[in-house]
Symmetry: C2
Subunit: 225 residues, 2 copies
Amino acid sequence: MAYSNAYAPSAPELPESYVHQQHDGENRYRYAYQPTQQFSSSSGLFSPETHPEIVKSFESADRDWSGFLEESELRQALLCSGYQGISNRTIRFLMFIYKSPGDSLLRLGPKEYVELWNCLAQWRAIFDSYDRDRNGKMNSTELRDAFYHLGYMLPTSVLQLIQTQFDDGTGKTVELCFDSFLECGMIVKGLTEKFKENDPGYTGYATIPYDVFMLMVIPFIASYD
Amino acid sequence: MAYSNAYAPSAPELPESYVHQQHDGENRYRYAYQPTQQFSSSSGLFSPETHPEIVKSFESADRDWSGFLEESELRQALLCSGYQGISNRTIRFLMFIYKSPGDSLLRLGPKEYVELWNCLAQWRAIFDSYDRDRNGKMNSTELRDAFYHLGYMLPTSVLQLIQTQFDDGTGKTVELCFDSFLECGMIVKGLTEKFKENDPGYTGYATIPYDVFMLMVIPFIASYD
């Protein structure tokens, strides 16, 4: 079975240069990296075209001047960049998803930090645009539409399951705040990308060895809070 | 590739009637269900041979007399049965792994509760027997040996990853308390069983459709704490 539109994990995502247009007052979400720009070590850790806010937030948070942000440093960087309320659990997801695949350590270099920054800007913009009633929460219909915009047309069963995971055990209808939206979005994005690595032909099926399966899934089951 | 001993998710587990022999004082862990016994609705929810402590703990916790334990009821039942300190996250794992597959609701009936009780007794006994220095914590070697005893000879890479998930972000050597042992054990048990459902020939490879993959993995990524 090839991916039908009903699954579409291979659907194109928004361009990385997606810039939030609707909330001009929220400048912190507007610094989109232009993917055609190249990093150059001769001009420092970041390319000269990188928005100074991104460079500033990275350098302020990189307290040991290692050239990388570790988990606690990323937490600080996001806090100072206007992303309050992101849980430690979500921070670890972000580290895991955005770290360089070739780096055995859980840390972000400048290139990965720019990518993460742009992702957060994009996801914040989408959250705001789909939170139609402006209550800072996203209901199930808004969540479905937001995922679609991000390139993931999830089966209803998967959407329902995600929402169950974020309920409080009482069975009430769930509305997600930005942090929860980010967390469940990262779960969908991360798992889908891992799946696709094992389905290079985009057939909709992945054949996975046991140890690879365990190694690809367990990082999403972070216990640390 | 067939499962080598290095993976062994299909290795036999201990019998359900495994009874902890080493700590006679801890009677609460010794009530092992005999799998040859049958439940009979004519003799009540439990078979007559079920240990009265199990029946008592179920009935005391089933406050709405529904004949099932919901999440909050299970939490209460375990607390009253001597299992202090089990996190809400682990409770949800237990519910998910032990609920009847045919039940769309997250709840445990008497049969599932007996199975869970026996599993906890077995795992507590193994934790105690491998916690050789009696400090209530399990180090990485003890964890490896305990998993082996439970029938899971995990690749070193998987073991290391599990321990990373339970560290506090400082990179220090991790020692697991019983709750953490139970949590990571349930992750290993649950994921391995889900994998095996998609690898009926025990080849070491599972071919999994995208939606099935998402549905089998997301429940382990419970956000609720």
